[in-house]
């Protein structure tokens, strides 16, 4: 707390968030300079933006009411495809990430396996799913298979890393106790490691399911199947009322998945 001597006695001043004044003012000046440069160099076509306002209004108006009916068959198919992609890629990704995660846990795996698994995790985590999907589409052709591959790779990176960290944090006492009974490696895994990490991993699996659904709505934009393709088409044709319906459905499903996943997580833990 800083107390400055004033003429009328001691006056209290609120302590600043950043203590060093040099750093504080440096950040302020640097931030202001950066913003000035950015707004100077940013290339915005304001007349085009102004043109967009009526269109934006039309888009907002199309939410009241959205048109669920005229493209119902396409929307339904897209949503189902997204769901299939989500389910398959979550299951597949988790199945593959279990051995990788076990290998990436320092207290479990020998050094070379550890390094290899960590490298796999790092590679699959680096690029956004959408870029992976772009390449998957090039390799496997248009359709849900490409989306499935992209989301599975994303899942491996996410789930494997968290699994490895969870195993590294486990209670070594229980592991030692099981080992002392003469259990083999798989028995040890099954009775000492798995029960300790299971509740958290089920929760994370639900969470990843949630993420995968959100992403599956996007991979369609680059040709990976699912509801994203339907949405892209309806935007391209300026059919805003169908687009609004699709967006509302996506929000609804994401909310439902999020609530049920948090419910299941509470129930498991």
């Amino acid at each position: 707390m800083t107390a400055a001597m004033g003429t009328g006695g001691r006056q209290w001043k609120r302590p600043p968030l950043i203590k060093s004044p040099l750093l504080r003012w440096g950040l302020v000046v640097g931030g202001a300079a950066y913003l000035a440069v950015v707004f100077g160099t940013m290339d915005v076509n304001w007349s085009r933006v102004a043109d967009g306002f009526p269109r934006g209004q039309r888009f907002l108006a199309s939410f009241f009411p959205p048109d669920f009916v005229s493209r119902a068959a396409d929307i339904w198919e897209g949503i189902l495809e997204s769901l299939w992609i989500t389910i398959i890629s979550t299951v597949f990704g988790i199945l593959i990430s279990i051995p990788v995660g076990l290998g990436a846990a320092r207290n479990l795996a020998p050094r070379p396996v550890y390094l290899l698994s960590r490298a796999i995790l790092a590679i699959s985590r680096t690029f956004p799913e959408i870029i992976i999907a772009l390449f998957a589409v090039k390799l496997f052709g248009f359709g849900p298979f490409a989306g499935f591959i992209a989301l599975s790779i994303g899942t491996i990176g996410f789930y494997g890393k968290l699994l490895a960290e969870d195993i590294e944090d486990m209670d070594p006492g229980q592991a030692e106790a099981v080992k002392a009974t003469g259990a083999g490696w798989f028995q040890w895994l099954n009775y000492a490691v798995q029960p300790q990490v299971m509740p958290r991993m089920i929760g994370l699996g639900m969470y990843r399911f949630d993420i995968n659904f959100r992403e599956s709505a996007v991979v369609g934009i680059v040709g990976g199947g699912g509801i994203g393709a339907t949405l892209l088409t309806s935007f391209d044709r300026y059919e805003f009322d169908s687009a609004a319906a699709i967006l509302l459905i996506i929000i609804g499903i994401v909310m439902a998945v999020e609530y049920s996943s948090s419910y299941i997580r509470k129930w498991v833990q």
Binding site: G52, W84, F127, I130, G141, L247
Partner: protein
């Protein structure tokens, strides 16, 4: 722990019969659902392409080396745009998320019945729509360019920042608020001196964390025309200029690693 008698000897089992059957049942249902979904996806897949994929991947990889280093001159502007999209978007998001978080937190909201649900709805709808979808919408409305990217990142991040922030507000230490109240402070003064100082570190941490995520996301916004390096990526892919593609991928990798490093450093300094 369930122990069963068989021929007079006690046998330890991991689970009792009911639990075991339930688990088997759940596993069976999951397997059936998986098989069903797999069937549907495999129907829509052209398997010849999939079998051909390893050869294709080899081919693509061989066309990618060496990266076209001289293309780098054209990428600097794209990198600058990408960073700006992420930074301005984050700035916009935190400015808007701050009041929304106070409206959504149970202990600071002016009205639990009226305003809190509205604030929560804003948070949920912002979070449910991926930034790429926001970008798609905004490009259709205000045209392609950096501005659409900034707004897309901003809209997507409002929900994220506001959610984490309102959770932080709900977990504050109430004794400090009480102490400030006891001095006779008014409502805004309580907010200013009792609550805000407590959440400032969390606020700064959330902003930097989101900035890091936004750098990652802004690299792909160009795929739908919202500016940044994704624009160059999709152009190079469409021109099948694979040496440029590999350079762009390296640049994205570098940007992501640097931003992750910066964000880790800053968060370490704050917390």
């Amino acid at each position: 722990m369930p122990v069963q008698q068989s021929n007079g000897a006690k046998v330890w089992q991991r689970r009792d019969r009911g639990t075991q059957f339930t688990i088997w049942g759940i596993q069976f249902v999951c397997l059936a659902v998986f098989a069903f979904c797999w069937q549907l996806i495999s129907d829509k897949t052209i398997w010849e392409f999939v079998y051909d994929a390893p050869r294709q991947a080899n081919d693509m990889a061989s066309r990618m080396v060496p990266p076209a280093w001289d293309y780098m001159d054209k990428l600097w502007l794209a990198i600058w745009d990408t960073i700006n999209i992420a930074t301005l978007g984050t700035l916009m998001a935190v400015v808007m998320a701050f009041p929304i978080a106070f409206l959504a937190a149970r202990n600071t909201t002016p009205s639990k019945a009226l305003i809190r649900p509205v604030a929560l709805f804003i948070i949920v709808s912002s979070r449910s729509i991926n930034s790429l979808l926001w970008a798609l919408m905004l490009v259709t409305i205000i045209g392609p360019g950096v501005l659409a990217g900034v707004l897309a990142i901003g809209f997507r991040s409002i929900g994220f920042c506001a959610k984490l922030l309102y959770e932080a507000i709900e977990e504050i230490d109430t004794t400090q608020v009480e102490a400030v109240t006891a001095t006779g402070a008014s409502g805004p003064q309580i907010l200013n001196y009792g609550i805000v100082p407590q959440i400032m570190p969390a606020f700064a941490g959330i902003s930097v964390f989101r900035w890091d995520i936004n750098i990652r996301e802004s690299t792909v916004l160009g795929l739908v025309g919202a500016g940044g390096i994704g624009l160059q990526l999709s152009a190079s892919i469409n021109n099948v200029a694979w040496t440029q593609v590999s350079l762009i991928l390296l640049v994205i990798l570098g940007t992501v690693i640097v931003s992750e490093w910066v964000s880790a450093k800053v968060r370490h300094a704050i917390i």
